[in-house]
């Protein structure tokens, strides 16, 4: 179907973008924003096409319903946030590595033989408007935490002695975690309301729920560490990394290692 072709083109464009960033000084500065905008538009177009094609098949649902769709949406959220945070990305390595992250996710999602890419109908449990609110808020959160993770990693690898880059990184990190925390909370709460209407209980300590709570606690510690205890530097960078590992486990680990109510996502 058309959406598959568009997703492949989008993946290729991400690749071109990264190659240009690596080898061309011009893209690195002047044309970077516009180049990203082009790739992002294609990505958006592919998502919309997939949405429309699901109606042609008679299923009609947003592309937020299975593992493949979650991956391409995750990459979309990362690129979107990179664009929105453009002003704050005075430390371009964050932006570059975020785009590299989107590229890797797109390659995995669109080329891996182990991933089911067909548009599938929604099982009864997923037939709800809460699907849109719940999945989109969660993935905006995951993408923000990915940016925070990059800030954490780059903090450890930055050239020593330059306190200005460190403070820029910390600023981006702080912004990412703030956005991520608000959206993760929104994701958990919309999930709880949905669970109430679908399963009859807003909280049942399902592994996915529990791990999202663990992730939430880690980022709550990040926020309080900085606001109350005045933590900076290494401590916060380390927490960003730990927090994102928890995100990864919530996203992938729970699906593949633990069984539970969220089993549609595998």
């Amino acid at each position: 179907m058309l959406n598959e072709t568009l997703f492949l083109i989008t993946t290729f464009l991400y690749l071109v973008l990264i190659v240009l960033i690596l080898f061309s000084e011009a893209t690195r500065k002047k044309y970077l924003f516009h180049s990203i905008l082009v790739v992002f538009s294609f990505h958006t177009l592919a998502l919309i096409t997939r949405w429309l094609e699901s109606y042609e098949l008679g299923y009609g649902h947003a592309p937020l319903s299975n593992y493949y769709e979650s991956l391409v949406f995750f990459a979309w959220c990362i690129t979107l946030l990179s664009l929105l945070l453009k002003k704050n990305l005075r430390y371009p390595s964050v932006l570059h590595s975020a785009l590299a992250g989107s590229l890797l996710i797109m390659i995995y999602a669109n080329l891996s033989p182990s991933i089911e890419r067909d548009i599938k109908p929604l099982v009864p449990a997923l037939q709800s408007n809460w699907l849109h609110f719940h999945v989109s808020t969660c993935f905006v959160a995951y993408a923000s935490f990915f940016l925070s993770f990059l800030c954490g990693i780059l903090f450890f690898f930055q050239s020593k002695g330059s306190s200005s880059t460190a403070s820029i990184l910390e600023e981006i990190n702080w912004k990412s975690v703030s956005i991520g925390f608000v959206f993760l909370t929104a994701g958990i709460l919309t999930g709880a309301v949905w669970a109430h209407y679908a399963w009859g209980s807003y909280w049942s300590w399902d592994p996915k729920e529990t791990w999202s709570l663990i992730t939430w606690i880690i980022y709550a510690l990040f926020l309080h560490g900085r606001l109350v205890k005045g933590w900076t530097g290494k401590k916060l960078a380390l927490l960003s990394v730990i927090g994102f590992l928890s995100v990864l486990f919530t996203y992938f680990g729970v699906n593949f290692l633990l069984s539970g109510l969220h089993s549609y996502a595998t």
Binding site: V182, V193, G200
Partner: protein
């Protein structure tokens, strides 16, 4: 006496410390990890097989097979709520005290502030009048005014903290006074009780009657389930009160009870003739009549080409025996068991729907906690209070803006105020 006071204060200080809060959160997170990697709610045999006998003993001792319902986990949550409450109370006190100390800086300080401008030709009163449309007046002096916008966002963090306590209270209410159970209904069946979940299943009576008008499952072309629909009627004193289609994601709510489409199953009814009299039993029942005691042990919809068959267990002179009946084989259709002539006539399979039933008096408290939490987060992270200080002199008015969280906000706010007056 004074010793007691200091002792009490020490306990209070400990209970309300940020350190305790962080430690509790870490312990709760660690216990939650255990609750997801150790199998929950398994049988003793499963635990022994997975973790050996001594491992099982430790699991049982700490309730690790049901972490989220053990007394110590609930206690942790309780302590956390207490800590959050006292800690926030302390902070609220401090915040309120600080805010009541607001003063307007003198004119020479305003002039020196980074984000200030001079509105020449405009009197203090006219500037105040204009700004009052969007700002709240905090202090009014003879030659100075302090106004504020989004002041409530300063308390965003308190909304967040208290909302968590509200959510915990709401869930406690549900835990104490709510119920969880299920009811299974065949098409046409009526019930006015719910089977409660728990180690010893009990039944609780409803003061209305549920009647299942219909139940069906729809499939997509590729065979995956599309829709489970139970059509239900609620009757009270023989009168129909309401009718509703229950689907997944569309529960029925009535008198505080929620009925959810949870699952479904098949139940077979077997038709026999015992000494020429028509009789029917389901696969859950034991048949007792005139000394014949029998029960269907197994049902096969098709045995080779001989049609449906049932394995029946019965008592022959007090000894248990089993035998197969096949509907479409003459020889195997009619048998003498337990001193009676028993003929297997037919079998009919019915779908039955299983509705999850819950009652949660805390649900609206939890929902309001959720809303407050989101509101608190939004105000804390995306809004910041802006204060405007005004001082008038003989020829005009000095305006200065101060935002507590970000300097950029002050700049932006000042620009907005400037354009407001120069556009006029």
């Amino acid at each position: 006496m004074s010793q007691e006071v200091t002792y009490g204060k020490k306990v209070y200080d400990f209970l309300s410390s940020v350190k305790l809060g962080i430690s509790l959160l870490l312990i709760i997170a660690a216990s939650s990890v255990l609750g997801t990697i150790i199998k929950q709610g398994g049988t003793p045999e499963e635990y022994v097989q997975l973790y050996t006998q001594s491992g099982y003993r430790i699991i049982k001792l700490f309730g690790l097979d049901d972490v989220f319902r053990t007394w110590w986990f609930i206690l942790l949550l309780f302590l956390f709520a207490l800590n959050l409450f006292t800690c926030s109370l302390k902070r609220l006190e401090r915040d309120l005290r600080r805010n009541s100390k607001e003063t307007i800086p003198p004119i020479e300080n305003l002039r020196k502030m980074r984000n200030s401008l001079y509105l020449s030709g405009l009197s203090l009163e006219s500037v105040t009048e204009e700004l009052k449309k969007d700002y709240k007046v905090l202090i009014k002096e003879e030659d100075g005014v302090c106004l504020e916008k989004w002041g409530f966002s300063r308390y965003g963090v308190h909304f967040i903290h208290f909302s968590i306590i509200i959510i915990l209270l709401g869930s406690l209410l549900g835990l104490l006074f709510g119920l969880r159970g299920f009811v299974s209904l065949k098409k046409g069946e009526e019930k006015s009780y719910v089977t409660l979940r728990g180690k010893n299943p009990e039944e609780t009576k409803l003061d209305f009657l549920l009647r299942c008008k219909d139940f069906r499952v729809d499939f997509y072309a590729d065979g995956t389930p599309k829709d489970y629909v139970t059509e239900i009627e609620i009757l009270k004193d023989g009168e129909k009160i309401m009718e509703k289609r229950i689907r997944v994601n569309e529960p029925l709510k009535y008198e505080g009870y929620y009925f959810y489409q949870a699952s479904y199953g098949k139940e077979a009814t077997f038709y026999f003739e015992v000494d020429g009299r028509k009789r029917s039993i389901t696969d859950r029942e034991v048949f007792r009549e005139d000394g014949l005691i029998m029960r269907v042990m197994r049902y096969e919809p098709s045995i080779h080409d001989f049609g449906p068959g049932v394995l029946v267990a019965y008592l022959q002179n007090g000894h248990p025996e089993t035998t197969w009946f096949l509907r479409d084989v003459q020889k195997m259709r009619l048998k003498e068991i337990g001193g009676k002539k028993v003929e297997f006539i037919d079998v009919k399979e019915d779908l039955y729907t299983v509705l999850e039933v819950t009652k949660d008096p805390g649900i609206y408290i939890v929902w309001s906690g959720f809303s407050l939490l989101l509101f608190g987060l939004f105000t804390t992270f995306f809004l910041s209070p802006r204060k405007v200080y005004l001082r008038g002199d003989s020829t005009g008015t000095w305006v200065a803006v101060h935002s507590e969280k970000r300097r950029e906000d002050s700049e932006r706010e000042l620009k907005k105020i400037g354009s407001r007056f120069y556009a006029q």
